[in-house]
Symmetry: C2
Subunit: 324 residues, 2 copies
């Protein structure tokens, strides 16, 4: 696994650290029973590794020792993968990164336990750091993420169509993890309070931008690169920012509203995607993502200006420019 770590091009200089993260992930799973171990190995260390990279960059920026940052980066990747496994189960998603999701491949029980196992291993890595403020941020993160998912599951019909619910949802689901990853890395570096707060803010804004772009790519992305069909969110009735911005000025009998009704057929979903893409909603959503990236970069104004700060900015710019 270590040899195939995918990285955002501007971050090549942290590849050695990221390979150590990948090795640590492999080592931690060595005791998990097959066939689950192989399935988890494929899920961990997959994708673009933005969250562990954020940990490494912040640690390097502020002069943390590499070893604890590698442990933290592995914990963050494990927690992230745990939440993907449980969220796919809650949402009933069949595919993730072009592969069958765990509950589709094995069973509901295997997916529940695989997520629990990764969460336990992540907690164990955090415990290894023996840093009470890092535990506190980590446990607060767990509570925020779960509470957001629960709120989302029990939204009333009115709340589902409110922009405030969308922003609250992506903050809990995505931005809180980026924020905590950056803050924990700053704490490991023994950063002063203002720097830790600035990095938390950077992480939060980066996470907001990331999720908005993710939601846009679900509509306009390339299916082969996404690893799932375009319009997956619409099909599952998940209402994202471009949809909300579109509906603000759409008539009552609009094709996008029809596609969101239970029992909508494939033709209705395709018509809704076409209507969304022909409107300005996708661009309006992307411009919100760009605004979050600007706020992320602004948050870095007071932190040391070195090559790692430049890489954090490159990471932020990648997040809005990416195609998958």
């Amino acid at each position: 696994m270590a040899a195939s770590v995918q990285l955002v091009p501007a971050l090549e200089s942290i590849r050695p650290h990221m390979e150590q993260v990948a090795c640590l992930l492999d080592a931690r799973l060595a005791g998990v029973r097959e066939p689950l171990r192989s399935a988890l190995c494929r899920s961990l260390g997959a994708g673009k590794q933005l969250r562990p990279a954020l940990v490494i960059l912040v640690g390097q920026l502020l002069g943390a020792l590499p070893a604890p940052c590698i442990v933290l980066a592995a914990a963050v990747d494990m927690l992230h993968t745990a939440t993907l496994i449980h969220d796919d189960l809650v949402d009933g998603a069949a595919l993730r990164r072009g592969r069958e999701t765990l509950h589709t491949r094995w069973s509901v029980g295997a997916a529940v336990l695989a997520g629990d196992c990764l969460l336990a291993e992540a907690t164990s890595l955090i415990a290894q750091l023996a840093h009470p403020s890092v535990f506190a941020v980590f446990s607060d993160l767990l509570c925020r993420m779960c509470s957001g998912e629960i709120t989302n599951l029990f939204l009333s019909a009115g709340e589902r169509y409110a922009l405030a619910s969308y922003y609250r949802g992506i903050e809990a689901k995505t931005a809180s993890l980026f924020a905590a990853a950056a803050e924990m890395a700053a704490l490991l570096a023994g950063a002063e309070v203002s720097h830790a707060a600035a990095l938390r803010c950077f992480g939060r804004e980066l996470g907001m931008a990331y999720q908005i772009v993710d939601d846009v790519l679900d509509l306009i992305g390339d299916e082969a690169r996404l690893g799932k069909p375009v319009g997956s969110d619409l099909r599952r009735g998940v209402i994202t920012l471009p949809v909300l911005l579109y509906l603000e000025c759409a008539p009552k009998d609009d094709p996008v509203r029809d596609a969101l009704l239970a029992g909508a057929d494939e033709g209705q979903v395709r018509a809704a995607i076409a209507a969304l893409c022909a409107s300005g909603a996708v661009e309006a959503a992307l411009s919100q993502a760009c605004a979050h990236v600007e706020q992320a970069e602004a948050a870095l104004a007071g932190v040391p200006d070195n090559a790692y700060r430049q890489m954090l900015c490159a990471l932020a710019e990648f997040v809005v420019a990416r195609q998958s």
Copy 2:
């Protein structure tokens, strides 16, 4: 909730502490969205509260401050309830303590998130203690419990019928939580290493006895008191100690073997229960539970002898004498 805390009779003197545990549990759930909050409130602080009581007794025995022990006891109850919710989902159990399980009442998604939420809140309480060794024992416990459940899910046919698998399974599922609860309470008291190890051993043996008795009560208990039908384990193909001891000397065409085959009918299950109860297997299993209680009591030989040590012994004796 606080007013209705159920306690083992010999433990009345710790009722004030246990009521504080119940209040803390209520307070921690205040922010969880309805209808899940009410469902979780009914699950937490329910049952005989043996694990939180163990925390309080060990803390008092070794002179810990009450406040952190109350936090730890609440965390232990939350973790225990989280594992019940996820295990019921993995096992497909429909009833727990006479009520519909969460996944039956709501959905798979709600049960996954409810378990995750309790696990997150438990971790947050542990983080509040700001005690790195306690965090380490807690995270090690999470790994043991998950690993045990995963092993159990993927047992081969041969392993399912092995006594070693049964003992390993109940150690991971039940004894590890009792062991860690007692050890963490000892650590909060600043106990010397030998005392912490003795209390861990006490907890482990108590947990082994508890689970064996639980498995016996599933066969011989009173349905109304158990809150579930007799023979639930057999119906779900879960192979427990009395069954294993019985099968050691049963012929190939025995009614118990028939009841364990997929598609066994109610008549076959009833016949198997009758055969098990008429054999010496139930008594043999109970005598193993008694041996674990003796080992638990022996582990206490070197710890201070005061009223709380007597209450720990009373708790151990209750575990084998209980009817539900």
